[in-house]
């Protein structure tokens, strides 16, 4: 076990460093560089300073208006998706079988949508929700026919949103269900036996045993789903292309329209930076919470280092499920 210390070993990292610099660091620097300039093509650039940022952050300007619209739209989408998927995922996890042959069956069924590529999911729903040849769209339209309205996601804003939200629920509820199921599986039978002796109701078992035990995986699930839905691109792009109008243009779709559709490199770069900053902040929270969710408890009693941490509460057996899930 004698390790020799030789700092020249760091030189072996240099190729990776060069590769990352070429493929990630320099392109990122380029984005920053473009965000303070303007170009009219021909690879001629003009200094614009903070101009694009100012326009981007000003809701009364054209760029600012579409940025804020896409941002609120995206946050609304994330909110709706979380509000639907989390309770649904918990419900599904609670009703999944604990033992027997059904376990494998339920796990596979839950995992299936997660294995489908994003653009295929978009295509599936694009066809599925069509009113002429899609089963879902046709059935909904038949049901709505007596009311005199129709369901058409290419024309109706509400229909487009409903389709996208259902598609996302269809795609990702399985993830939350699987995470919650893993949390539920880690509860020892003794807890349930004790609850039965105490005559606890089903609801009491849920709120006092199951929910606290799922707290950690739920945290991971919520953060994962928030990040994913905040960066969503492919599915709505395939399904609605951001329409009708701009009603389902989320941030990443808007960014691509700006950068590749209009070739407004400066505006797109400024928007990328701000978008990236939001993601970075969310990522930091995600990472910090994930790493510290167990440590936090212990740290509460020890404001200064050096003190012996208090005994861990009995309800904190180490279940590294979130590590595996990530």
């Amino acid at each position: 076990m004698n390790k020799t210390v030789n700092n020249r070993a760091w030189l072996l990292v240099l190729p990776v460093f060069a590769l990352v610099a070429f493929s990630a660091v320099l392109p990122l620097m380029t984005v920053v560089n473009y965000s303070v300039q303007d170009t009219f093509g021909n690879n001629q650039f003009f200094w614009n300073g903070l101009g694009w940022y100012q326009e981007l952050l000003d809701p009364s300007s054209q760029l600012g208006e579409r940025f804020y619209d896409a941002l609120w739209r995206n946050l609304l989408f994330s909110g709706i998706v979380l509000a639907l998927e989390v309770p649904l995922g918990i419900l599904v996890a609670l009703s999944m079988p604990r033992r027997g042959i059904g376990v494998a069956f339920a796990l596979v069924i839950m995992a299936l949508p997660l294995l489908i590529p994003w653009n295929v999911v978009g295509t599936i729903w694009q066809v599925f929700a069509r009113s002429d040849i899609g089963l879902f769209g046709y059935a909904v339209n038949r049901a709505l026919a007596p009311l005199g309205t129709d369901f058409n996601y290419t024309q109706g804003v509400l229909a487009a949103w409903i389709t996208i939200v259902i598609m996302d629920v269809w795609h990702w509820t399985g993830l939350i269900a699987l995470l919650c199921y893993a949390g539920l599986k880690s509860i020892p039978d003794a807890y349930y036996q004790a609850a039965r002796i105490d005559g606890a109701s089903r609801f009491a078992v849920f709120t006092t045993i199951q929910l606290p035990k799922m707290r950690r995986v739920l945290l991971i699930a919520v953060l994962l789903r928030f990040m994913d839905s905040f960066m969503i691109y492919t599915e709505p792009f395939v399904l609605t292309g951001g329409g009708p109008g701009n009603s389902t243009t989320f941030l990443s779709i808007d960014l691509v329209k700006l950068a590749l559709g209009q070739f407004d490199l400066g505006k797109a770069a400024a928007m990328s930076i701000v978008y990236n900053l939001i993601i970075l902040a969310a990522c930091w929270v995600f990472y910090t919470v994930m790493v510290n969710v167990g440590v936090e408890r212990r740290a509460l009693g020890t404001p200064t280092a050096g003190e012996t941490p208090p005994a861990e509460p009995a309800s904190a057996p180490v279940i590294p499920i979130e590590r595996r899930a990530a």
Binding site: V36, W47, Y53, D58, A281
Partner: protein, 94 residues
Amino acid sequence: MQQFAWMAWTWQTALFFAGIAALLATMTLLAALRPETERFGVLRIPTTRGDRLFLSLVGSAFIHLAWLGLAGPDHMWGAAVLSLAYAGAVFRWV
């Protein structure tokens, strides 16, 4: 230099990244010369100098954007002062 002209670098961008690079180099030197242990601050999470630098930089970016959005581009030094104060607070208490 001529063969990099197509990348349209500006000295302002160069200055910005030189600043970041200098900060990182300083942190590396500090880590080598004065090793540290993690500590628990007001956020109740273990942080190192690197974490505090990251929080300072990301926070400064948001402070500058907020200043630009609310007060306009004329007095950006205000955002810089505010960011420095924020960074100081982060390094002192987080």
